[in-house]
Point group: C2
Chain length 338, copies 2
DNA sequence: GTGAAAGCGCTAACAA
DNA sequence: TTGTTAGCGCTTTCAC
């Protein structure tokens, strides 16, 4: 393996000149720069990132911690994040916390060991005390939906309300009055927010909420099926269901079909996320879009500002990602009798 | 940030002793070892992996390159691989090639820069010449379904045949004689293998293959829909479809529903992969399981042998992962008229 | 058993 | 402009 010295001697310059050339320093004359690049090409040389990191203190590694990789939302988010990161010369380290604080602690520890330049914590508010480690070591960090009182931490605020309001209004306009909500697990900050936003939206629309129609599920397909079943057992049933995420909604679709309940004729269903698959469910899912690429972009930008311009005191510390309704086939007017 | 020297001085030993203690060298006396661990705990110290890598030449980083992260098969594979890797003290670097050789080249380059100890190339045979880079730099490598003539390369052979044969026999036993195959893209080595195995299985079962019933799709849901549509346009239609992967099968399910073709009453459908979602399709998908965890385990083991025991000339260089039929709801007897 | 010291490949401060 | 040199934090001889 050629190293910087090999290049230097082939190009007949000092190693400092090679380093400068590679790093685009303006101090290198064209003449030498050309010689260096040629030697680099000839040797098929590239720098050792570990040596670089060791001396510069910067790894050009970014961590991203997601909640649960089996929910399609997260691979899609990771993909966007990776794409942006790589395009900007960063590499990423991915971990799932699986909603387990011990696992999260371990993730953080491993990222610290690898000297990540920053970490995007996309666990949507499930557990934050563990992150002290990062804060304490002065690692830039960006959180979804959670404020950390630290100059190195930024926050991405998710505007669920506009999307959820659009969803409720859409149902309302269609003629629905009886709307249920299948919530996410209450230990998730975002799940609570979504539920609260649903309540506000209902209130704004002048619609009453039935206590039994707001059910805590777990953001999985199975959970959605269970939530639907619970609703079915009720004497008074809703004509529409808004779900805290798409997987839950897909579970509802699945269970409704099995129960002979037709969507959207008998029941309207709305999801949240707009995962790629939502377009292909039966019927195609009407859902509230939470753009993964917007989120990934916001997370990356937040970290980059902190990493590359750490002294600027006026930098943006809060980012907003909005949501919007995507109307597809799982909603329509309520059945005549209702 | 505490470094090895901080620990050494707190424990009143040399940095060599600290290093030995951390690395579990048997040469350290219990007395000093205890002091060192206490200092480590007290300082919340952990070693700098970059410094370690620089001097030892080993990064404890493993690369994994997958074909397309939007196919759920791959996140599931990556998750298994990561789990095994982390449990064994490795970190992973993930990249998708998106079936683009230029992207693959770039992935390989980035992994080389980060000095990965090994790379699992899970692209299923789409492009191999690019991998010369790795071979040339003596990086252990494991490929799915492709043999590379190099002492550092191992291969994971996938036994599709047993699963596909079970699928065909299952359909045959049910009474099907007219079976179609929706293949994957022909530039994929694995897609060609699967198709060939289907042909063998049909032949073994004494069943004839209609040319027009073997269609090249692209392993996506959309592609499956298109494949189904193409079959529908035919005068003579099959009573069953075997698909090269689950996404294709899900597309068929989707398109069949839209066309009013009932599965499994009018048409039987079989997928391949058994992604998590297959259990929840409507109807639940009968499919050929290709275990992600078996595959991940084989890939990891292959790399580990190469990394940790590179001189052993008798080591295993080929691994076999088998497939098996999972019977669910998308298959039944053919319609009476057929 | 333990410690001193050399160096892994690179960047950056300083000299020229 | 270019080169010389001192480390970055660690592992690993080699002495003791």
């Amino acid at each position: 393996m050629p190293d910087i010295r090999t290049v230097a001697s082939l190009a007949k310059v000092s190693i400092a000149t090679v380093s400068r050339t590679i790093n685009g320093s303006p101090l290198v004359s064209e003449r030498l720069s050309k010689r260096v690049w040629q030697a680099i090409k000839q040797l098929n040389y590239f720098p050792n990132t570990h040596a670089r990191t060791l001396v510069s203190g910067r790894s050009r590694l970014l961590g991203i911690i997601v909640e649960n990789i089996t929910n399609p939302f997260f691979p899609e988010l990771v993909q966007s994040f990776e794409e942006i990161a790589v395009r900007n010369g960063y590499e990423i380290l991915v971990s799932s916390s699986n909603s387990d604080p011990a696992v999260l602690t371990n993730c953080v520890r491993r990222m610290l060991e690898r000297k990540v330049d920053g970490v995007a914590v996309m666990t949507f508010g499930e557990e934050e005390s563990v992150l002290d480690q990062l804060v304490h070591r002065n690692v830039p960090i960006v959180l979804a939906e959670f404020r950390l009182e630290d100059p190195k931490a930024s926050t991405i605020l998710l505007d669920y309300l506009s999307g959820i309001r659009a969803a409720v209004n859409h149902l309302h306009a269609l003629g629905h009055r009886s709307i249920a909500f299948l919530a996410g697990p209450h230990f998730l900050h975002s799940a609570v927010t979504r539920e609260n936003d649903f309540r506000s939206a209902m209130q704004s629309a002048g619609l009453a909420i039935q206590k039994k129609w707001v059910i805590e599920c777990d953001h999985t397909l199975k959970g959605g099926m269970a939530g639907f079943a619970q609703l079915q057992r009720l004497a008074a049933r809703p004509t529409a269901i808004v779900c805290s995420n798409d997987m839950t909604a897909i579970g509802v679709l699945r269970a409704a079909y099995a129960a002979g309940v037709r969507v959207p004729q008998d029941l309207s269903v709305i999801g949240l996320d707009d995962i790629d698959f939502a377009e292909y469910t039966l019927p195609p899912l009407t859902t509230i879009r939470l753009s993964r690429s917007d989120l990934a972009r916001a997370a990356f930008d937040a970290l980059r500002v902190q990493i590359e311009d750490p002294v600027n005191p006026r930098m943006l510390r809060e980012f907003l990602v909005s949501t919007s309704l995507v109307e597809r086939g799982s909603t329509s007017t309520p059945p005549a009798g209702a």
